[in-house]
Amino acid sequence: MEKDLWFLYSLMLKSRLYEEMVTRLWKEGLISGEMHLGTGEEAINAGVVSQLTEGDSIALDHRGTSPMLMRGIDPVSLLLEFLGHPDGICRGLGGHMHLYSKEHLIASSGIVGASGPAAAGFALSAKHLRPEKISVAFFGEGSLNQGMLMESMNLAAAWKLPLLFVCKDDNWSITTESDKMRGGSVKERAEGFGIPYIKGNGLDVEEFYETSSKVINSIRKGNGPQFLHAECVHLEGHFLGYQLIRMIRKPFRELPRVIYPLLNSFLKPGGANFIKKLKGIKTVSLSMLKTLTDARKDPTNDPLQITRKKLKSDPLKLKELENSVEKEIKQIFDSVKAVI
């Protein structure tokens, strides 16, 4: 292993603490609109991004903060971007779903599936201009049903592009369980485009780094696109302020707001017959229950905890690392505060 676990952990921790800071700022109302975090998928991001070097390119989805940080984007200008500041990385014009760095060849998009075509174009130019450089597409499993992503998988296969597809699978598409809306498995989907499929462990960065390292080297050698699939859990749910997460956290406050109109509508005259109505109530309750017992509540699904456990054998070094990352984050925060 080239990059050691300490390094990978520091990448993940930095990303986590940074996003926690973002969360605070968002809650304070300083960041407008939606905010999708990468908390929970840090092992995937770190495992892949830590292997990229100059000339490699990345197409990001709506969870771009974490990979951007890991790729070495200036954290201050990133945060300023979220705050809509003219010194933000996109002069405050992009926002967290539209992050760009020409220097690092990173583009993002808030359109589901758009990272596929974007990565294909990056890979095409790599093929022409940057031998042995690759391009990476990050996306969630729900995006696998978006035409353009599928088209770009086929395109990558047909053109034999140096492209790594990274599917971060939390099995949620906002409030929908992705596997219920998908024909076939993720593996079958990838192989349906003749693309080699590799399953990685999205919770264990050590393993995942190894897996992606092999895959990436093979792509660099000109073997065409490959598909890396890893499961993960998004600890904050779909985005900050996500209603279902709020329900989990403050059931007594949130549930009545939901249940009252539900019952009201259920009891209205007209509509389906009683059996179908019951089916309706069942559908809705089940999906809420599903959320309430969601994997997000389970700390064994936190990739940071998993790696931290491994590093606990050297508690001093761990403490030191954690302190230093925390300090870094504080510094970022202070620099930003100084500007705004």
């Binding site: 926002g95 599936g113 035409g147 929908t176 009201n264 509509g271």
Partner: protein, 334 residues
């Protein structure tokens, strides 16, 4: 009643009598859960993130006995569902020799002013209205929203139904104000909440709502712009400028008569349009007046570029009361 609730309530009223109405879209089992528990899971159907396929399916379902309301998360994403609209829904009437139109409704939140950035805050009503063969509806109050939806459910052709997110308590809470209590959006109160009839009656398409009599200026708008214009109207009144505000309610069909009638009196047309300026609604309204031969002065307050993310940038780019007033004053002084 709140705006989105009004739309849902009109849908529910019609769903009771018409079994063929179904709803299709991502996350609908949760987003329209209130309808689901009343009408059952067969009629409120969740979809994969495949807008092209399920919008296209909505079109042919509408041709074969159902009345689908297809929901997209935002009008911005119509970019991946354009083919069924441009090349199918809108063309069926012609292609089938008038025999087989598709009564589909495509319901989409639209509009900006809450900080999601340029890929999520577009309006695009003028863009969609360019396509012959589809109706385009942009209600600006709960009462209109429900009534126009009821009418949409009776149209024998495709209807694009656009709900401004600022009007919608549930969207705004979903997209950023939920989970924090400190967000301030410039939400038009009368658009977001208002009286609605006990029993919904259809509001006809192609009939604008005219607010006040404008001796000096006719301001025409849709959606949130209508409320901005109404506020501007009050300010201008204080300055001795008399403006009427025309809320088009639908772009296709377009109530040309109301616009012409008013401009004939005022001699001045000011278009307030949150959609992009060029090749859109403002131009069309200018043409509508010009081709009727009425002499008029013209100005417009529209969105000229992609919408920036920052709150400041958003404010600069989206039409607001100040800009409307200052453009109106300029126009008045001509």
């Amino acid at each position: 009643m709140h705006y989105t609730e009004a739309v849902d309530s009109a849908i529910a009223q019609k769903m009771v009598e018409d079994n063929t109405i179904i709803l299709l879209g991502e996350d609908l089992p949760l987003l329209r859960r209130n309808l689901l528990v009343r009408f059952g899971p067969e009629r409120i159907i969740g979809t994969p993130i495949s807008e092209n396929a399920f919008t296209g399916a909505g079109v042919s379902a509408a041709m074969s006995g159902l009345r689908p309301i297809v929901e997209l998360y935002m009008v911005d994403f119509v970019s991946v569902a354009m083919d069924p609209i441009l090349n199918h829904a809108a063309k069926l009437e012609t292609f089938s020799g008038g025999k087989w139109p598709a009564p589909i409704i495509i319901r989409m939140p639209c509009g900006g002013g809450y900080g999601d950035g340029g890929q999520h805050e577009q309006s695009l009503w003028g863009w969609l209205a360019h396509i012959p063969g589809i109706d385009v509806v942009v209600p600006s109050t709960p009462a209109d929203a429900g009534g126009l939806m009821l009418q949409a459910l009776q149209q024998e052709r495709p209807v694009v139904f656009l709900e401004h997110k600022l009007f919608s308590r549930s969207w705004i809470e979903f997209l950023g104000s939920g989970g924090r209590k400190n967000m301030k959006y410039d939400i038009p109160a009368d658009g977001s909440y208002g009286n609605v009839p006990e029993i919904w009656e259809p509001v006809p398409f192609g009939k604008a709502a005219v607010h006040g009599k404008g001796e000096d200026i006719t301001i025409v708008s849709v959606g949130v712009g209508v409320h901005r214009a109404i506020r501007a109207r009050e300010i201008l009144k204080g300055e001795g400028i008399s403006a009427s505000v025309i809320d088009l309610r639908t772009l296709n069909p377009l109530d040309k008569e109301s616009v012409r009638r008013s401009v004939k009196v005022s001699g001045r047309l000011l278009v307030v349009d949150e959609d992009y300026e060029g090749f859109g609604l403002s131009g069309e309204l200018s043409a509508v007046v010009a081709e009727s031969g009425i002499p008029f002065k013209f100005a417009r307050v529209c969105t000229r570029t992609s919408i920036p993310y920052s709150t400041k940038g958003e404010k600069e780019v989206l039409p607001d009361v100040d800009t409307i007033c200052s453009e109106a004053r300029k126009l008045y002084s001509l």
